[in-house]
Amino acid sequence: MAKILIVEDDKDLNNAYCIILKSEGHEVVGAFDGKEALAAVESFSPDLILLDLLMPVMGGLEFLQKYDLINKHPEVKVLIFTNMENSPEVTKSYDLGAHRCIIKSWTAPHNLARVIEDTLNNKASSPATTA
């Protein structure tokens, strides 16, 4: 099972994803903004990061820039989990190395667990760079 870092500012949702992913047997750590996530990756070394985009203190895009996913952590999978579907922010996250984007309000827990499995097993199609 994988090590998953959940970065989500909404406490209820963060807690829900922790419960869902722990029940699937994953090791899970939660962070509530990008800054907390940067601190967490130092000690936790996740296999996959479930990342919200719009958060206080430090948003998901700034986290991706500072974490330098493409150059420093190419082995880590980043799954964008947002309600800002079809936004320039999502396109930018792909440019910064995110693997997939899923929409919170469309995704039931069993589907979230399945998408995470697919992403970890490289079953997902690679996203486009709409540059």
Binding site: D12, I20, N86, P127, A128
Partner: protein, 374 residues
């Protein structure tokens, strides 16, 4: 009238007075104004135009308009002379009104709304006159409005996501067993949150469209990749209704296109979501893409209930919902296709459909390949 009043001296004086009046009128125009001769050389530039562009009168007079006044696109690339409004006005003999970005003497980019007309005397072109207005402030207000709409959309959906996620967790047994009646109630809650989510999306998009805050931002994109992204986003939604999506975008050879990827995605997501909603469980939806030298055409086909013939001419109207759909599916707003039509218009495309009740519907969206657009 006496001889003294109608003599040559008086005529000259009248001409001088008229010229002074014309000059005062030109100078007093509150927007930027520039005139050229028939060869495009600048003959006059009023104080407001000089203030916007940062050049002195001496620097501009006698210069060739397209050289002196640099127009650029969103990426600060210089627009070809043939695509400049003044060239179009000279070539067509008509007034051209457009939004444009000018580069000032100091290199600052200033968005302007302009109108340029040929000056015709006895149908012979003597030059052109352009009036333009700095719209930096309006653009900033539009940007803030768009940002607010986007933020409001996110903030409204966050609590709904919590309601939906926890309801699903209860149904799926993450918190222990729930009986059938409890499951039914939870499904009602989930259905209501789905409708609320849809409503938020549609209303915010309609607000953007009707307030004119939808901006077309052209980018060169791979159509196949964009379709793959749309389908990946929608697969989860289709799964919930046991509907299969066939991605046929790889069937034909596709070249890159130049369009607004976010607006195009919005169009396809709306059509596909409609297909998912109005197709019975275990049905199928497909997306096919074909390209010609001029256009690219997307076809979204569903195996749904179809659109009755007598209402087919109304389906792009605001709040319209077909009776056969209202009987089966009470959750729609009648705004989805109205929105899609508006977005297709924004991309200078066209939309049409073929539908047969009980046999499904095929929606076609054709947009320009856009290779010559900036």
């Amino acid at each position: 009238m006496s001889d003294a009043q109608s003599g040559p001296d008086n005529t000259n004086q009248l001409i001088v007075e008229k010229q002074a009046e014309m000059e005062a009128l030109f100078t007093s125009i509150g927007d930027g104004a520039i005139t050229t001769d028939e060869f495009g050389k600048i003959t006059r530039i009023n104080p407001k135009a000089r203030q916007i562009l940062g050049f002195s009168e001496k620097e501009m007079i006698g210069g060739w308009f397209p050289n002196k006044i640099v127009a650029v696109n969103d990426q600060d690339k210089i627009i070809n002379m043939i695509d400049r409004p003044i060239t179009k006005a000279f070539l067509t003999g008509k007034t051209i009104s457009e939004k444009c970005i000018y580069r000032t003497k100091k290199g600052k980019l200033v968005p302007v709304n302009l109108s340029v007309s040929p000056i015709l005397v006895d149908s012979k072109p003597l030059g052109a006159i352009q009036v333009f207005r700095d719209i930096t402030l309006e653009e900033e207000v539009d940007r803030m409005k768009s940002e607010f709409i986007s933020l409001a959309s996110h903030q409204l959906r966050t609590p709904l996501s919590s309601i939906k996620t926890y309801s699903h967790m209860l149904i799926e047994g993450y918190m222990g067993d729930v009986n059938k009646d409890q499951q039914k109630s939870l499904r009602t809650i989930i259905g209501a949150t789905n409708r609320m989510n849809e409503l938020i999306s549609t209303l915010l998009n309609i607000t953007r469209m009707e307030s004119g805050t939808i901006r077309v931002s052209l980018k060169t994109i791979n159509a196949k990749t964009l379709v793959d992204e749309v389908i990946e986003e929608l697969n989860l939604l289709a799964n919930e209704r046991s509907i299969e999506i066939n991605n046929l975008s790889g069937k034909y050879q596709l070249d890159v296109i130049r369009t607004d990827p976010l607006l195009l995605k919005e169009i396809l997501i709306n059509l596909m979501t409609n297909g998912i909603k109005y197709t019975p469980e275990n049905g199928k939806i497909s997306l096919t893409v074909k390209q010609t030298t001029e256009h690219i055409t997307f076809c979204v086909a569903d195996s749904g209930w179809g659109i009755p013939e007598d209402v087919q001419n109304q389906i792009f109207s605001k709040f319209f919902r077909a009776k056969n759909i209202v009987k089966r599916e009470t959750t729609g707003t009648g705004l989805g296709l109205y929105l899609v039509k508006g977005l297709v218009d924004a991309l200078e495309g066209r939309i049409w459909f073929k539908s047969k009740p009980k046999h499904g519907t095929k929606f076609y969206v054709e947009i320009p390949n856009g290779k010559n657009q900036h």
